[in-house]
């Protein structure tokens, strides 16, 4: 009887230990979600400026949108995040819808400034013009300007 009691006491004492041993371990915390990398910056035309004179850095010297009939007309196009070989196209049109000129140019670097210019041996017809810029064939901006007799 004494042995039985001792045995019972031992078994009862062991039960909590068994319970602990068999207790299911808490699941490990989920791994911290990695911050997704920012999406690659999109190539973009950030600014278009017009003028009649350009510096070595391809920026027009005095931005304006009104020109005389004998002026050269220059568009400086600022670009960012462009891949090597990216192409810019400038299409110049008159108010009638006529295409005055269309020129494509590979962008030298990113960020970059690309200048497009048009000159006319005879006087520019007076009126409203527009230069439309596309980047890799996708419209990326435009700027309107006037030619007037001065």
């Amino acid at each position: 009887m004494k042995i039985t009691r001792t045995l019972l006491a031992l078994v009862l004492a062991a039960v909590p230990l068994l319970g602990t041993a068999c207790k299911k371990e808490a699941p490990p915390p989920p791994p911290a979600e990695a911050t997704p990398p920012p999406p690659p910056a999109q190539p973009a035309v950030t600014k278009i400026e017009l003028g009649s004179s350009v510096g070595a850095d391809k920026r027009v010297l005095a931005p304006r949108t009104s020109f005389g009939v004998k002026d050269s007309i220059i568009a400086s196009v600022y670009t960012e995040n462009t891949a090597p070989g990216a192409m810019l196209t400038a299409k110049w049109t008159f108010q009638t819808g006529q295409t005055v000129d269309s020129t494509s140019q590979a962008i030298a670097a990113s960020p970059g400034i690309t200048e497009f210019h048009i000159v006319k041996k005879s006087a520019w017809p007076v009126g409203r013009y527009k230069v439309e810029i596309s980047l890799n064939g996708t419209p990326a901006g435009s700027q309107e300007f006037d030619v007037a007799k001065k």
Partner: protein, 83 residues
């Protein structure tokens, strides 16, 4: 233009282009012009602004370099203020 007028002729238009790397932060830097032989402030103003009469704007932006508007020298780099 009226509908009866012939469309203007753009066959004598010449276009061109070139490209360069942009120096970061240079977008807002002052614009400059290097004086060439035969230049005068009025000639530069005509070239840059399309109006020779704006020479005074260039002179006033460069009083640190120019004491006399009639004396500019090839190689001088002038600040060109916005029109």
């Amino acid at each position: 233009m009226t509908p009866d007028e012939p469309l203007p002729d753009f066959s004598d238009v010449e276009g061109g282009s070139s490209s360069a790397a942009a120096v970061p932060g240079a977008q807002n830097a002052p614009r400059t012009y290097e004086v060439k032989k035969g230049d005068s402030l009025s000639k530069i103003a005509k070239h840059v602004y399309g109006e020779a009469g704006k020479w005074k704007q260039i002179f006033e932006a460069n009083t640190d370099k120019l004491k006399d508007p009639d004396k500019i020298y090839p190689g001088q780099v002038l600040t060109i203020p916005d029109a």
